[in-house]
Symmetry: C2
Subunit: 389 residues, 2 copies
């Protein structure tokens, strides 16, 4: 068994949305195909992967560093001990050979795209959905029949207004979602409070509304927003300050009684561990949101889960960012706390398989083999156009 | 005044050396030229920059993200208020527009190469050496007549042996260096202790010998090495553990009485601030070693200096990593604690101008305009070959 080809390309996911930090009109991601020498139905079994939104394509790092190292490795060095499938840890070690520690940024996004393709390939070789492959091999056969999902939405669009925001949220509820998320921090406090109250008219309570500042606030502003929002007992207050400002997070956690969620802009086990050690996160209510399609991949994410548990937390406090099928498969098969979804943004890569039904804010696992990208038609057509044979 | 062209290329700095983590045989860096419309001697005034060793070239990020944003900006938006020179903070903001917070890795290395070229260009436009430009504009006219420099050496080379290591160190002393540095962590404790004692025979004392583990040790190993090395009262024990393992560093600092130095693998103000807050660093003896040619550049480094001082530390505790002319200019003009040098490695980019004399372990500023790359003949010839007109 060996890898016969690795192809990468850049996909555009540009849109008119923006959050408190980023205008997404020029956004790109990397798409990767990892082809094996195992043939099924006359075609090589191939895994697909992509990096998550918000961090741009990583073609340079993939072409110049990560892919050549995998190509240069002896095929046996990439397989598990039984030789019947690939070994994601060995592949991670190979692709990151001669890379110095620290500096977990663009390199982590490039590795994550490749790593996603490796896991898709492994589950396909095992002829299982990835969630079941993960359950069998990494969770003693346990999995969840349904998992919490929430749409990452409520962006600032030009000319959207409060009515448009409420319409967007009603649309999510119509699709079966219960908890929703909206952006804050790119408007004044008064405007944002009006936006929050408008959305709470739709959700009925703060408990089903998460707000996301995208790392925009300094300590003073985070505390002001926290004080203003505390009475709503929101689902969570996401990324109040700079993702690496652990001291800010710790001070806010002292003052803000409801839940805080953060971690989508931490991209390694070491950075996640620093969050747990230094940011005042509370095991009984806060949420950890690393993105497996940015933080070197699911392989690194498994280490993060174990680190979180070693610190006495439940893995149910982990809710992967990114709104993609990988996050859903992990949440089901590894029994995490829930995962984001992007039913309306970052198309065609955002959201789950075309036949995934959301009911009461919960999604159920499907039986598509691998990650199931073939069952998300528009996305898979784009993947085939970019990295198909 | 405006930027008329920005050129980038990849330079090879491959060599047979290795440290505890990285084999440098495939190492590359990015080289950048920023050309202005100001003509002198019939040629446009042009600034040059490069990223530091160890982290690979960043052509993809430069070509796809950073350079196009500078090209697309209105020329006025890149100038200082007087309009008589560029404004490095404005250029930093432009080149990092629509970049999310956190994830300070390859993007920081790409930005640092560009930022170095901007500072070279600014000093050339002012017809000053960069150290004097920095002294005048950022240090109230103060500067140092001579600054501590030490060679980053003592690498593990195939077949080098203790004699070879001693010969290398004698060579540095012959060149005028006093304090030297060597690698540890890629051999056994016994072998490394023999290597340290062999070098101390040359230096005469531990006070002129720094050792560098390049982030290789876990806590237990760091403590074992610390206990074994404590009697030598070494110049410093550099990067004992993973650069982001602040808890390890804090525990070692409790147990190891002599100086610790770290920071070359932290690439942003936020990461440096976390080091200061969470890593148990001691203001009376420890050293901070961010690399201005990796951490988004001198522009970000100025913020780091102010952060360090705001925490009650002296800027004399800062010793820029990287062994390049930018580090020397900053150390002179901003009165830092010293800087690394690479007289023997990472050629032709390592080390200072050809006419820089080292005496008693100190280097003196020269009068070359800008960073003075033109006065480092082999390096400048390579820069011209790569990004000349």
């Amino acid at each position: 068994m060996k890898i016969t080809d690795i192809r990468e390309a850049t996909a555009s996911i540009g849109s008119s949305i923006s959050n408190a930090y980023v205008d997404f009109s020029q956004m790109t991601i990397s798409v990767v195909a990892v082809e094996s020498d195992i043939m099924r139905n006359g075609r090589p079994v191939t895994g697909y992967g992509f990096s998550s939104n918000g961090r741009y394509a990583q073609g340079g790092i993939l072409r110049e560093r990560l892919i050549p190292r995998i190509r240069a490795a002896a095929p046996q060095a990439l397989l598990n001990d039984a030789g019947d499938n690939f070994d994601p840890r060995k592949i991670r070690t190979v692709m990151l050979t001669n890379e110095k520690p620290g500096g977990h940024g663009d390199r982590a996004f490039a590795a994550a795209a490749l790593d996603m393709a490796i896991w898709d390939l492994m589950a396909k070789l095992a002829e299982q959905p990835l969630w079941r492959f993960l359950s069998d091999h990494y969770n003693a056969g346990a999995y969840d029949e349904q998992v919490l999902v929430y749409p990452g939405g409520g962006y600032y669009n030009p000319g959207k207004g409060l009515d448009g925001l409420q319409d967007e949220m009603r649309g999510y509820l119509d699709q079966g979602y219960k908890a929703v998320k909206m952006k804050i921090g790119a408007a004044s406090l008064d405007e944002d409070m009006a936006r929050i109250e408008a959305v709470m008219e739709v959700t009925g309570s703060g408990g089903d509304l998460a707000v996301d500042a995208n790392g925009r606030f300094d300590l003073e502003t985070a505390l002001i927003y926290g004080k203003a929002m505390a009475p709503f007992d929101l689902f969570w207050f996401e990324e109040p300050g700079d993702p690496l400002d652990f001291a800010l997070n710790a001070e806010l956690a002292q003052a803000y009684p409801a839940a805080i969620a953060t971690g989508e802009n931490l991209f390694s086990l070491q950075d996640a561990r620093n969050l747990m050690l230094h940011a005042g996160m509370r095991a009984d209510r806060d949420w950890i949101q690393l993105d497996p399609a940015l933080c070197y991949g699911l392989t690194e994410f498994l280490d993060v889960i174990h680190m979180v548990e070693d610190m006495g937390w439940s893995r149910r406090r982990i809710v992967p960012h990114g709104g993609h099928q990988l996050g859903l498969a992990m949440t089901v098969g590894l029994q995490l706390g829930g995962t984001e979804s992007y039913p309306g943004v970052f198309q065609p890569f955002g959201g789950f398989a075309d036949d995934t039904m959301i009911e009461g804010g919960m999604a159920r696992p499907d039986e598509h083999i691998g990650i199931g990208m073939e069952a998300k038609a528009k996305m898979f057509a784009e993947i085939q156009r970019l990295v198909g044979v």
